[in-house]
Every structure is written in structure tokens, then in C-alpha cells.
């Protein structure tokens, strides 16, 4: 009798163990899922992966469905091969790209020069920004060799081909906006109307078997909610606001990673509008900006103050040409010497013509620009200059229209690891982001030379030469270079230290998994 009971008990234990084992096996079969944000591109089109639209191409790279021919080394910004094996400039206007052998797309199609040619043609023709940069006249495909001919010398061609938006994909697939097919480690299974995607691993991925089994990308979580989503476990990694970093820095469940970035926060000071037409006032404003206070007070110290366009670690930095340091007394003196006095005793200086000085500061309500503007408002007030803040959703348009005194702005000064993509649009006469209408013959000549020069030392020399001419007009006040952050959950592994931020090299995605 006792034996029977024991047997039944044993059988029960075995069954229970089996059930437990089964459920545990079920969990294993489910595999590793990575969840992270991939926001909609900056466009009115909603979430799309169509590389013709704005910055939508890099969404496919970020999700792991498509890749680029080259990537930039996160650290050195050197051009490294990815889908291409090499690139060579055989003539001034001709480049040959050798496509890597043995790469297949997720639909089984072999990667050839012809596939690359069709993808690049689509992007260069339909994406004006990239098309203008590349200025391609024609392309020819022969086996694994792609020949690119340009209309003018495009020294940056290898860097353009490493732009995360210049992805290689199958142009014969039906829907580029919601079903783009490329060579990446993951395959897009579904995308909901908000742009949240589910992806499964591509077992035939050319670099090896992807480490995670499934990826979920979230487009419906706003950047404001990343902190909460990380805390609830809804996201495995994300970049958070500087104010929220303290929540993760000492938390053993998370790891915070930092990356020096070339993105500068600076001010446009308009020399063509009301009070800031006056050189003396612009000069005084340059002395009135307390960079250290702004960095520590507004951005929690997550950045590096600068008096230069380029960060100190960049080869384009010129220590000989810098903007003046913060000196409030000097600012007051300049204004006094120029005839600015408080004639009506209201604490606000009157211009030499008697009018109360009041500037307008235009800013976005993001990236701390509104707070930065409020701090500037107080700093300017301390030297007797009144100002009002205009928060706008379309700062680019407002600055282009020219009806502003001061515009707060952020711009990556080292896009593609090079200075040209900042200097040209911002300083060339009549260029797109030259909101102050800066014009200098020598700068234009230097930029023209830079556009056809591949030699990196020569490019650095030209960049330094340009800096000799641009600071003296006080049309731009450089404040800081930001440091990107990425917060990841501790169990996520194989994430390189510099993963995240601008111009991210996502070629490492296939290695990332969870412990």
C-alpha cells in the first residue's frame, strides 16, 4: 500500500517535473528578443523605410534589415568596408567599388554590383539631399565591380557610401516603405500602422548567425518616454535626456555609455536684423555667454564647452582661432563704449538712437534649447539687454526667413566624420543653412578646394584656414559639443561602447544578445 502511494507520488513528481521542464523548454524555444526604439524619420510621411524620403533609409539599417557598402569606424571615423570589399578612385571623376562575394539578401538573391547599382540609382535620384552630395553622372555594373562616374570631383564618395541612409536593397521587391528587403541580419515580419516592427533572424546572414532570435522596434514611444520605458523593461536600450541620466548612472540594473559627438550647440546672431546689425552689440553678446554655466546647469555637464566649431579631439580643431571667453564686464564695457546707456532707468540699455534694446531668441522646444534660451535671456539681462523667447516648431524656416536676432541651433559639425558637410552649408555664400548670410571670398575659395580634395591633411588645413575668417564677425557663438548617451539594460551584451548616437554604425547589431 505504502509502495503504491510512493509510486503515485513519484509519478506525480515526474509529471510535474515534466510540465516544468516543458514550460522551461518553451521559454528557451522563445529565444532572445531585443526591443529598442526606432523613431519615425523626420518627415510628414509617417513611419516609412523608403530611402527616397528624408532620413528613412537609416531606419532599415537600424532595424537590421539592410546594410551599407561601407561604415565609419565609431572611434576613428575611418571608412571601413561592409558590403563592399574596397573602393578606389581611378580618375578624378571615376570611382570603382568592389562588392563583397558570397553575400545574399534575405530573399536569397545574390548581392552583385548590378543590385547595388539599382539601389544607389534609386536613392541618388529620389533623395535630393544624398543625390546632391554624390552628384553621380552614371553608374556601370560588371560582375562584382561597380563603377561610379560623377559630374564633379566628389572627394567624399567613400564617406557618402557609408552614410546610414545609403542602404543596399532589392529594388525588385514591391514595397520599399513597409517591406524593404536587404542583406541585414534580421527580416521584417510585420509593421503596424504606427511603425512598430517585428523582425526575425536571417539564418543565412553573411557575417554569421544573428545572436538574438527576434527584434521588436518601437516607433510609438516618444523620446520623452524612453526613461519610463527603460524602467518598465519595455525597451532594452535607448538614449535618455541628460536630466534622467542620474536615474541610471548608479543603478546596477543598467549601464550608461557615453560617446563624444561632433554635434555642436551654438547661436546664430543675425547681423541683418534690428539691434544685432550693430557689430558692437554682437561682440558684447559673444562675451556674455557663460558656457560653463550653461553646460553644467542646463545639460548636467554632459558635453564639452567650446569656443570653436570643432571639438578639441578633432583634427579640424584650431587652437589659434577661438571665440572669446566669457567676460561679463568686458561685454558691459563694449556696450558702454558703443554708446549703449540706460537713459530711462528701467534697467534695460537704450541703443545709441534711444530705443530700448530688445532681442528675440528663436528656439525649438527640444534638446534643452528652450531652457538654454531662458538662461541666455538671463545672461543678456545681466548686461542690460532685454529679450523675448519664441518657441517654434519650424526654427529652420524661421531662421531662413531672417526675422530673428538669435537662433539656438544644433548641428553635427562632423557628419560622415568630415568637416565639409558642416562648413559648406553653414558658411558658403547663399548656402542652405547660412542663416546669417555670411559671405567671405576666401572661405568660398577654401570650400571649393575642399570639395575636390581627398587628402585629409589638406582638408584639415583648409578647415583651419576657414576658421580664421568666421569668428571675427560674431555671427555665430559656439557653446558646447554634446556627449551622446545610451542607457542599456545590464543583461544586454556585445554592445560596443560607442553604440548609439549620430551616424551609428549598426553593422554590429547581429552580435547583440542578452545573457
Amino acid at each position: 500500500m505504502r509502495t503504491g502511494k510512493t509510486r503515485k507520488m513519484a509519478a506525480g513528481i515526474v509529471v510535474a517535473a515534466g510540465v516544468l521542464a516543458g514550460s522551461s523548454l518553451g521559454a528557451v524555444a522563445e529565444g532572445v528578443t531585443l526591443t529598442y526604439p526606432v523613431a519615425a524619420p523626420n518627415t510628414q510621411s509617417g513611419f516609412t523605410t523608403d530611402p527616397a524620403i528624408d532620413y528613412a533609409g537609416n531606419k532599415s539599417f537600424a532595424m537590421g534589415t539592410a546594410e551599407t557598402l561601407f561604415v565609419l569606424d565609431d572611434d576613428t571615423k575611418e571608412v571601413l568596408p561592409l558590403l563592399a570589399a574596397s573602393i578606389e578612385q581611378i580618375e578624378d571623376l571615376v570611382w570603382t567599388v568592389t562588392i563583397r562575394d558570397g553575400v545574399t539578401m534575405s530573399n536569397g538573391k545574390e548581392l552583385t554590383a548590378d543590385v547595388c547599382k539599382k539601389a544607389l540609382e534609386y536613392i541618388f535620384t529620389n533623395n535630393t539631399r544624398i543625390g546632391t552630395m554624390a552628384d553621380v553622372a552614371s553608374m556601370e555594373a560588371n560582375g562584382q565591380t561597380l563603377t561610379i562616374k560623377t559630374n564633379h570631383i566628389v572627394a567624399l564618395m567613400p564617406r557618402i557610401l557609408s552614410e546610414p541612409n545609403v542602404i543596399i536593397f532589392d529594388t525588385e521587391a514591391d514595397d520599399y516603405s513597409r517591406g524593404l528587403i536587404g542583406t541585414g541580419p534580421y527580416i521584417l515580419d510585420s509593421m503596424d500602422p504606427e511603425g512598430n516592427c517585428e523582425l526575425s533572424k536571417n539564418d543565412n546572414y553573411w557575417q554569421g548567425t544573428p545572436a538574438a532570435d527576434k527584434i521588436i522596434t518601437k516607433a510609438n514611444i516618444g523620446a520623452d518616454a524612453y526613461t519610463a520605458a527603460l524602467q518598465t523593461g519595455e525597451l532594452d536600450w535607448a538614449s535618455v535626456s541628460d536630466a534622467d541620466l542620474a536615474l541610471f548612472e548608479d543603478n546596477p540594473d543598467y549601464e550608461v555609455m557615453y560617446q563624444n559627438a561632433g554635434r555642436a550647440y551654438y547661436l546664430y546672431v543675425n547681423p541683418n536684423y534690428t539691434f544685432t546689425k550693430d557689430d558692437a552689440l554682437r561682440e558684447a553678446l559673444t562675451y556674455a555667454v557663460d558656457r560653463e554655466a550653461i553646460l553644467n546647469g542646463v545639460y548636467g555637464g554632459h558635453g564639452a564647452v567650446t569656443r570653436s566649431i570643432f571639438p578639441e579631439w578633432s583634427e579640424y580643431y584650431s587652437g589659434e582661432n577661438l571665440q572669446p571667453e566669457y567676460d561679463q564686464e568686458k561685454a558691459k564695457q563694449i556696450l558702454a563704449d558703443a554708446g549703449y546707456t540706460d537713459t530711462d532707468g528701467d534697467g534695460i540699455l537704450n541703443a545709441p538712437d534711444g530705443e530700448n534694446v530688445k532681442l528675440n531668441i528663436t528656439c525649438y522646444d527640444k534638446n534643452g534649447f528652450k531652457t538654454l534660451s531662458e538662461v541666455l535671456q538671463q545672461l543678456f539681462r545681466q548686461i542690460g539687454i532685454d529679450s523675448e523667447i519664441k518657441v517654434s516648431d519650424s526654427v529652420f524656416d524661421d531662421l531662413t526667413a531672417g526675422e530673428y536676432n538669435i537662433g539656438t541651433y544644433g548641428y553635427n559639425t562632423l557628419t560622415l566624420g568630415d568637416c565639409y558637410n558642416y562648413l559648406q552649408p553653414v558658411f558658403q555664400t547663399d548656402a542652405s543653412s547660412n542663416f546669417t548670410k555670411f559671405s567671405n571670398e576666401q572661405v568660398d575659395a577654401d570650400l571649393a578646394e575642399m570639395s575636390i580634395t581627398s587628402d585629409t591633411e589638406k582638408r584639415a588645413e583648409l578647415a583651419k584656414d576657414i576658421q580664421k575668417y568666421v569668428y571675427s564677425t560674431n555671427e555665430r557663438i559656439y557653446i558646447m559639443h554634446i556627449i551622446n548617451n545610451m542607457v542599456k539594460r545590464k543583461e544586454v551584451v556585445n554592445v560596443p561602447a560607442l553604440f548609439g548616437g549620430d551616424q551609428t554604425n549598426m553593422s554590429v547589431l547581429w552580435k547583440i544578445t542578452k545573457e
Binding site: 535626456s241 534622467d244 536615474l247 546647469g297 542646463v298 522646444d365 518657441v391
Partner: protein
């Protein structure tokens, strides 16, 4: 019954005193500020409440208490002004519409219907955004949408009053239509409308704070409670006091105004309240 009426009167008197004190306090509040509400201190950003800063400091080191005190008048009086304007416009249009009737009444009421067909907050936000934000434009936007409630209410009251014998008597005595409206009909409609107005104050404060929270209200650096909430939302987890105190200020004022509205309603519409109380029983 009398006891109940006295109780209601007492309640109304108490809430009237509280509202009166609040309105006076909003004006003199800046006198109690220990710091300059505009003075930033980037070395004391988001500091927790302390002896020096009783409610802590905000995202650029300004004293939250001082900003609440300075923002009180702006937050409360802006709402009161909106209620006053919407009341005046709504009562004028609704009364005229109800009194003259006919095609004009039909047209005015269909217009009111079309304004009320939109969700009021969304409509207000759209108008404020179109006008370009700022305190004045927010008040215009709120007034442009808010008057319709008073118009509808005033019209219905005028319709019920204009056939009454005292109005006929006024007409027979030779009073003009304008005089009849001003001297007999509107005064008799006022209790209901005033109650509606008093109850609207709390909503108007919330709505104004909501617009400021969306960045459409007061321009920096001037303090306003909704704006303070908006500015503090980024520090919700790291410095919760920056959100807590403006939120509490709004809550308290809205509650006071609502209680005042209720007590006024009890006094001015005793029959209605008694009937509804009986129904409940």
C-alpha cells in the same frame, strides 16, 4: 427647512470669504516672495525643498515658491477675465437671439451648434496655436469657444421668461425691446447664469493651465502655474517637487472655485437643489 437654508447661506458666506481672500492674496502675493522669481542660479538647479528654498528650486535654480507667488495673479485673474468676457458675450448674444427669435435666432443657434460640435479643448488649442500662443492669444482662444455655453443658457432662459406676464406688462407700459431685455428679462436670468459662471472659473483655470502646459500660454521667463508644470515635466522623476507644488496650487484654487460655485448654486437655486435632493432620496 429653515435650518437647512441657513446652513447653505453660511456655507456660501464661508466660501465667498475664502475666494475673496484668495483673490486679494493673488495680488499681494509677490510681497511675500523672499527671492527674485526671475533670478537663475545654475549652481542650485533642481534643489530639494530646504530652509532657504521652501519648495525647492526649478530647472535653472529659481525659487519655486517665489514663482508660484508671482504667478498666482496671472493664473487666476487670466481665468477670471476669460469667464467675464465669455459671460458678457454669451449672455448678450443668447438673450438677443432668444428675444427676437425667428430666422436670426435660428442662424445664431446653428452657429452656436457648429462651435459646440468641436471638442472645446481641441478647438481652443487650434485657435491659440493659429494665433501664435502667448497669454493674450490664449485668452482670445478660450473666449472664442467659451461664450457658446452662456449663449445657449441665456437664450433658453429668455425663451421661458419672455411670455411671462411681467414681461407683457412691461411691453404694454411702452418699454422698448432693449429696455425689456435689460431691465426685466436679463436680471431674472442672472442667478442661473452667475452660477454657471462661478462653476466655469475652476474649469477656466484648468484650461488656461492646460494651454500653458502645452507651451501656448505665458512666454518665459514670466511665471504661470501651467507653464511651471510644463517646464518641470522633464524633471518629474529626478525633482518631483518641481511638479508637485504648481500642481497643488492649481488643485487648491480649482477646488476653492468649485466649492464656491456649488455653494452659490445652493443659494441661488434652492428649489432646484431641493428637488434633486428629493429625487436622490
Amino acid at each position: 427647512m429653515e435650518k437647512e437654508g441657513k446652513k447653505k447661506n453660511d456655507r456660501f458666506i464661508i466660501w465667498s470669504w475664502i475666494v475673496g481672500l484668495l483673490l486679494v492674496f493673488c495680488i499681494i502675493a509677490p510681497q511675500f516672495a523672499s527671492h527674485d522669481p526671475y533670478e537663475m542660479n545654475l549652481l542650485a538647479v533642481n534643489q530639494a525643498p530646504s530652509a532657504e528654498f521652501i519648495m525647492g528650486t526649478d530647472y535653472i535654480g529659481r525659487c519655486i515658491l517665489c514663482r508660484l507667488l508671482y504667478g498666482a495673479a496671472r493664473s487666476v485673474y487670466a481665468a477670471l477675465f476669460v469667464v467675464f468676457i465669455t459671460f458678457m458675450i454669451g449672455v448678450a448674444i443668447g438673450s438677443v437671439s432668444g428675444y427676437i427669435g425667428g430666422t436670426a435666432d435660428l442662424c445664431i443657434m446653428r452657429f452656436v451648434d457648429s462651435v459646440q460640435a468641436f471638442p472645446s479643448l481641441v478647438f481652443t488649442i487650434s485657435i491659440a496655436a493659429m494665433l501664435g500662443g502667448g497669454m493674450g492669444n490664449c485668452m482670445i482662444a478660450m473666449s472664442a469657444v467659451g461664450w457658446t455655453t452662456y449663449a445657449r443658457l441665456a437664450r433658453s432662459k429668455v425663451l421661458s421668461l419672455k411670455e411671462r406676464t411681467f414681461v407683457s406688462a412691461a411691453r404694454v407700459s411702452g418699454m422698448s425691446s432693449f429696455q425689456i431685455l435689460i431691465k426685466t428679462i436679463i436680471p431674472n436670468s442672472l442667478p442661473l447664469l452667475i452660477v454657471q459662471g462661478s462653476m466655469h472659473i475652476g474649469n477656466a483655470i484648468l484650461e488656461f493651465a492646460g494651454l500653458s502646459f502645452l507651451g501656448l500660454g505665458t512666454a518665459p521667463p514670466y511665471p504661470e502655474w501651467g507653464n511651471m508644470l510644463n517646464d518641470a515635466k522633464a524633471s518629474l522623476q529626478t525633482a518631483p517637487w518641481t511638479v508637485l507644488f504648481p500642481g497643488l496650487a492649481i488643485l487648491c484654487v480649482v477646488m476653492i472655485m468649485s466649492m464656491f460655485g456649488d455653494s452659490l448654486n445652493e443659494v441661488l437655486n434652492p428649489k432646484k437643489n431641493t428637488a434633486s435632493e428629493k429625487e436622490c432620496k
